[in-house]
Symmetry: C2
Subunit: 653 residues, 2 copies
C-alpha cells in the first residue's frame, strides 16, 4: 500500500471537495484502477490501456443521489479497455478506500478494435521511420531522412471477414524541411503497414515517385512570415471587472439559471451531465439534459484510388476526441475572461496523463440581444426595452492530425443550449504533377489548391448523444409536420399551413431526413403547462446534407450515423456510440442504423436523441495552406417548457 | 431662394466632405427635391411623399468615377414617389448648385401602391379612434376609449381587378390599460377600413365581442417588474483601449482589408455599395459587391379566417425597413465599442426627418478563432498558432408594429460577408375564449400561448439583393452539384461523390431549391487564379424551408420571392424589388418569379444574386409575452477568389 499512500500524498490536493457520480477518474483513481488490473493480470505479453474512464453508475441511483446530494457518494467504478495477447479485454474495477477490485473482466470478440493510444502511434511512426526500406526510399528521392515525419492513418474496413482483420494501421510520410506544414508535403508512393499488437512493419511499398510540392508559402507560423502582412486591427478585448459569474465546485458548474456537471472523457471530450435550469416562476430547478456529448465523428474522404480509398476515419472511436484534445492558448483559443481547466486520462501504460488547459469556460458577449422591443403604437410614450445576450461557453479543441475541431457548448439564459462545431487546421493534400488546372484531364477528386497539390473532397459528420430528460425521465419524440391545407373558401384565402403532430411510437418512426419542413420536439407527455401544452424542447437542427455514398459501400455501413439526422433510442447504458464501440476496422455492426432496427418502443420512455450534423467539403484555394474557420451548429430550444419567456424578468442592464 | 439659403445655413455643416455617387440625400437635398416638386406641381389636392431617395447613377459612370475618385462628383439626382389626386407619381429631380430641376415625371398606372408614410398611418389611426361607431363599440365593451390604441394593417391583394383596388388599410385596436404590451391585448371584433387617399373611414364593423386577455404578466418594462427576477450575471463588456479600427469618411468606410460605401435608404435600410477587399498578395483592391441590401420581407400569417386571412405583409415595400428603423440604444442594442450614425429620410410633407442612431458599426470579438493549428507530428517541437477572429458589424433594427428585426452585415478579414437576421419583439396574438388546450376542439392556426391568447403561425421570408461584381462586372453562376459515383472496382471502395459543374446560362437555370447537396458559386469566368481556378465567391445559404402556400394563392403570387432560395438576374437598374416596386395591394406582377420568366442570358454578364432565407414560426409559450431572439443567416465566402488564405499572414496577437 506504500504506492497508494504516495499517490494519496501527491494527488490529494486536487481531489474534488464536491463529488458527483459523474466525476471523471482522478489521477489517483486512474492509477489505482490500472495498477489493480496490472497486478491481477498474468502478463504474458504487453498490456496496453486504450480506455480508462468511469463506469457510468446506474441512472436510477444517480437520480436518487441527485435528489439528495448530501447522501453518501455513489460507489466509484471504472470501465477499462485494454489490449493484451492480441485480444481486447474489458474490465470493471471498483474503487473504494484507495483500493481497486476487479468486478468483472471479459474478452471482446466482436468486430473492430479499441481507440489507438498516443504512445503506440508514436512507436509505430518511429518504427516505420527506421525501417530500412523506408530510409532507402527516402534517400532514393534525395530527401533528408531526419526531415521526414510520419503519421498514423487508420484504414477502415472493406469487407474482410472478422478473422482476417488485423489491428494494423498505415504509417505515411511527410516532409518538414523548410516548413512545419507537413500535411501539404506528403511523400507519396511510400507506404508502410504496421501491426500495432506486434509492433512490427508488416507491409512496405514504394510504388511510384511523386512530386513533392514546394514548401514556400506554406508555413503558417508568425515567426516565418515576411511582409506584406494581412491587415491589422486595433486591440479588442472582453472584460469582466467583477470576474466571471460562474461558480465551479469540483466538476459542478452553476451559472445564471443553469446547473450542470462538467466532465472530460478520453473518447468524447466534454461531457455535460445532469443539467437543470432554474425556473423563476416555479421557483425550482427543472431537469433538461441527463447527459450529452459528442458521440462520433465520421470523416470519409472521397478519393477512391489506391492510396486514399481507405481514409474513412471515425475520429472519436479511433483517435479519441478527449485524448487528442490540445492545450488551449489563453487569450487566443479562448478570450481573456476565460478560465481554463486541466484534465487527466489514462496513458497506454496506465499512468495518468495530464492535459493542461484541456477546456475553458467563459461568458460570451458578442454584442447580441437577448430580447428587445421599441413600441411606437402608444402616442406620446417612448417605450424601448433591450436586454443584451450573455451566455456561457465551454470549449475544447481536438486536433486529429491535420484538422482542428473547435467544439463549443453554449448555455443561454433563455433555456437554449447551442452547439457549435468549427473546422480549421490544414486540409489533407494529395500531390499531383499538375501545376495548372488546364493540364488536368482526369477526375482529381478534389480541387487543385496550389501547384502540385490537390485538396481532396471529404465530409465531416458529427453525431451528438443527447440524453434529454425534459422535466423528468419519461419523454417522447414528436414531429410537428408543417402541412399545407386548402381553405373551405369562406374567405378569399386559398391555403395555409398548420402543424400536424406525428408521435413517434417506435425507433423507426423517429428517424428523420432534413428534406421536409418539420419541427422536432422532445416532450414530456406527463407534464403540461398550466394552460395545457406539453412541456418540451425543440431541436433546431444543424446543417445536414444527405449522405452521398452508396448504402452498401463499406464506409457508409460503418458511418451509417449519417443515414439520418435524427434518431431516437430508448435509454440503454451500453448504447452511447453512434458508430459502435469498436470502430477501428469495425464492420459497423453496432451503428445507430443497426441498433434502431430493433424498433423498440420510445413513447413515454427514457429516450435519447442523437443528432447528426454534416459538412460536405469541396476545398478551395482560399483554404490553403491553413483553413479559415468554417462553422456550423444546432440548438436545443425550450418549447412550452416554460409558462412564458423565462428571461422576461431579466433586469435592465 | 431665401429658403434654400436658410437650409444651406442649417445643414451645411453636415454635408459630407467625402462624396460618393451613392451618398444618401442630405437633409438639404431632400428639402430641395421636395420643394422643387411642390413648387412645380399644381396642387389641386394634397401631395404626399412616399419615397425620396437617390436615383442610382448609371453603373458605368459609377465605375468610371470609382476608378478615379478625385474626378468631379457625378451629378446628383433624386427619385421620388408621391401620391396626389389618387394617383401614384414618380419624379426624377436633378440637384445642382443648391437648386432642383424636374427631369421627368410620370403617373404609375400598374397594380399596387407605394410605401405607407408614418404620418398617414398616424392620421388614419387618429381618425379611426375618433370615429363615433368605434367610440361606441369600445364603450359597449366597457373599455376606456383613452386607453385604446390603433395600428394600421395592410390588407394584401386577393384577386380584385385593378380598378377595384383602393388604397385602403385596416385600423385595428388594442388596449393599453395596465400594460404597454398592446399586441397581446387586441380588441377583436371591431374593425375599420380607412381610405388613405381621402383619409376617411370607409368601412366599420363590430361583428362580435371577444374576450380581452388579461394584462397581468405581459408588460416587459423593467420598471413594471416585481421580484423574483431572472438570474443575473456580472458585468461584461467589450473594450478597445486604442479605439475602433474603422475609418469613416463621409459615407465611406475602411476597415482592415475592406473598403465600402454605407448608405441608408428609407425602403430597405442599410445599403452597402462598391465593396472591395485588399488582396495582400496582389497588392491591390479587388471588387466584390457593387451593391447589396435587403430587398423585401414577406410575412404571411397562416390563419385563413375572416379577421386574419389578409395579413400577408410585405414589410419593406409596405412599411419601409429604413423609415421604420428605430433609434438604437447605446451599450445595449450595440455593444459599448459601437459608433452610432444618424440617418435622414423624407417625411410625408417633404421635410427631412432625422433618425438618431439609425445604425451602428462595431468590431465584434465573440471569442472565436479565425484559424488555428496545433501540430504534434513533428517530434520535439511544440507548434501552435492561433489567430482570434475580429470582424466588423453594421447593425440596424427595424420594428414593424409588433416585430423587431435585427439586421447585421458582418465583414470578415478572410473575405467573407455574413448576414444575420434576428427576430424578437412581440408575436401577434389572437384572442380566444379558451383558457386551456383541453377546451380546444377546432383548428386554431397556432398555439395557445397564454390564457385567451393564440400565437398565430406565420413565416418570415427575407430576400436580399446582392449585385456581386466578383473581381469585375461580368460574372457567372455555377452550381456545383455533389453527385454520387460508383467506382470502377479497382479498389475495395464502391462509391464516392464529386462536384459536377452546371453552368447557368439563363435565368431559369439558376433558380434553386435547397433540397439537394449543391455548392453555389458566383464566378468571374474571365479571371483565373495563377493555377487556373475560376475566381469566385460561394453562397452558403441560410435556412430556407420550402413555401407551403398553394402556388395560385394570392399571397404566394405576391410573395413568390420564396418560390426559390436563389435567383439570378442580369443587372437592370430598375429591378431591385423581389416582390415588385409597389407591393401594397399589388398583384405580384413584378416578383422575381415573373421577371425571371423572360429567361434572359446570365452567363458572363453583369448579374445579380437574390437570396431568400426563411423561418416558419409555430409559436411557443416561451416566446410570450416577448420573444427571445431567434437568429438565422447566410454567408458569402471567397472561393478561389484568393491565391491562398488571405489571412495567413495575419500577425500573431
Amino acid at each position: 500500500m506504500a504506492l497508494s499512500i504516495l499517490f494519496l500524498f501527491l494527488f490529494n490536493f486536487i481531489l474534488p471537495s464536491f463529488s458527483h457520480p459523474f466525476d471523471p477518474l482522478s489521477p489517483l483513481e486512474i492509477q489505482i484502477v490500472t495498477s489493480t488490473i496490472k497486478s491481477n493480470f498474468n502478463l504474458t505479453s504487453r498490456l496496453t490501456f486504450h480506455y480508462v474512464g468511469i463506469n457510468e453508475p446506474n441512472k436510477h441511483d444517480v437520480l436518487l443521489w441527485l435528489a439528495n446530494p448530501r447522501s453518501p457518494p455513489l460507489p466509484r467504478e471504472a470501465f477499462v479497455v485494454a489490449r493484451a495477447n492480441k485480444q481486447t479485454r474489458e474490465f470493471l474495477v471498483s474503487i473504494a478506500d484507495g483500493r481497486g477490485t476487479i468486478v468483472s473482466q471479459s474478452v471482446y470478440r466482436g468486430s473492430g478494435f479499441p481507440t489507438l493510444t498516443f504512445e503506440e502511434q508514436t512507436e509505430a511512426i518511429d518504427l516505420a521511420l527506421k525501417y530500412p526500406s523506408v530510409v532507402s526510399s527516402m534517400e532514393k528521392r534525395g530527401l533528408n531522412v531526419s526531415n521526414v515525419v510520419g503519421s498514423v492513418f487508420t484504414i477502415g474496413w472493406f469487407g474482410q471477414a472478422h478473422n482476417e482483420t488485423q489491428r494494423v494501421v498505415k504509417v505515411l510520410f511527410f516532409y518538414k524541411e523548410s516548413t512545419v506544414n507537413v500535411w501539404v508535403r506528403p511523400v507519396e508512393g511510400v507506404e508502410t503497414v504496421v501491426d500495432l499488437d506486434q509492433m512490427v512493419v508488416t507491409e512496405f511499398q514504394d510504388v511510384q515517385r511523386c512530386v513533392l510540392p514546394k514548401s514556400e508559402g506554406t508555413d503558417y507560423r508568425a515567426s516565418s512570415m515576411q511582409p506584406p502582412f494581412a491587415a491589422e486591427t486595433k486591440p479588442i478585448n472582453v472584460v469582466q471587472p467583477l470576474g466571471p459569474s460562474f461558480v465551479v465546485k469540483g466538476h459542478t458548474v452553476s451559472w445564471a439559471n443553469w446547473d450542470f456537471h462538467l466532465s472530460f472523457d478520453m473518447r468524447v471530450g466534454i461531457v455535460i451531465s445532469t443539467a437543470s435550469i432554474y425556473d423563476v416562476d416555479q421557483r425550482k430547478k427543472r431537469q433538461v439534459l441527463y447527459q450529452g456529448s459528442l458521440s462520433e465523428l465520421f470523416v470519409p474522404y472521397q478519393d477512391p484510388t489506391e492510396e486514399w480509398y481507405y481514409r474513412t476515419f471515425m475520429d472519436a472511436g479511433e483517435f479519441g476526441m478527449g485524448s487528442a484534445a490540445v492545450e488551449l492558448e489563453p487569450h487566443h483559443d479562448c478570450p481573456s475572461n476565460a478560465v481554463f481547466f486541466d484534465a487527466f486520462h489514462g496513458g497506454q501504460d496506465g499512468n495518468p496523463v495530464k492535459l493542461t488547459n484541456a477546456y475553458c469556460m467563459f461568458e460570451k458577449y458578442a454584442g447580441n440581444i437577448a430580447w428587445r422591443h421599441t413600441e411606437s403604437a402608444i402616442p406620446g410614450e417612448l417605450i424601448r426595452e433591450v436586454r443584451p445576450d450573455v451566455s456561457l461557453v465551454i470549449r475544447t479543441i481536438t486536433v486529429i492530425g491535420n484538422y482542428d475541431y473547435i467544439l463549443d457548448w453554449e448555455f443561454k439564459k433563455c433555456g437554449s443550449i447551442k452547439f457549435a462545431v468549427s473546422l480549421t487546421g490544414i486540409m489533407e493534400g494529395k500531390t499531383t504533377p499538375h501545376k495548372h488546372t488546364s493540364e488536368i484531364k482526369e477526375e482529381i477528386y478534389g480541387l487543385l489548391v496550389a501547384q502540385n497539390t490537390i485538396g481532396i473532397n471529404h465530409d465531416h459528420f458529427l453525431t451528438y448523444y443527447l440524453d434529454l430528460d425534459i422535466d423528468g425521465q419519461e419523454n417522447s419524440f414528436v414531429k410537428g409536420k408543417l402541412t399545407s391545407f386548402k381553405t373551405d373558401g369562406s374567405t378569399p384565402r386559398k391555403s395555409y399551413w398548420s402543424v400536424v403532430r406525428e408521435e413517434a411510437k417506435k425507433e423507426l418512426d423517429a428517424r428523420n431526413l432534413p428534406t421536409e419542413p418539420v419541427e422536432l420536439y422532445i416532450v414530456n407527455p406527463n407534464k403540461e403547462t398550466t394552460i395545457g401544452n406539453q412541456v418540451g424542447y425543440r431541436l433546431i437542427p444543424g446543417p445536414m446534407p444527405r449522405p452521398l455514398l452508396l448504402e452498401d459501400d463499406y464506409p457508409q455501413r460503418r458511418g451509417a450515423l449519417c443515414d439520418h439526422n435524427v434518431w431516437i433510442t430508448p435509454y440503454n447504458r451500453s448504447e452511447k456510440w453512434a458508430g459502435g464501440m469498436y470502430v477501428d476496422r469495425g464492420r459497423g455492426d453496432e451503428t445507430l442504423n443497426i441498433i434502431t432496427q430493433r424498433n423498440r418502443d420510445i413513447w413515454n420512455k427514457d429516450i435519447v436523441l442523437w443528432h447528426t450534423i454534416g459538412f460536405h467539403h469541396h476545398p478551395s484555394q482560399d483554404e490553403f495552406p491553413i483553413m479559415p474557420t468554417l462553422s456550423g451548429g444546432f440548438e436545443l430550444r425550450p418549447t412550452n417548457f416554460f409558462e412564458r419567456n423565462p428571461i422576461l424578468k431579466m433586469k435592465a442592464p
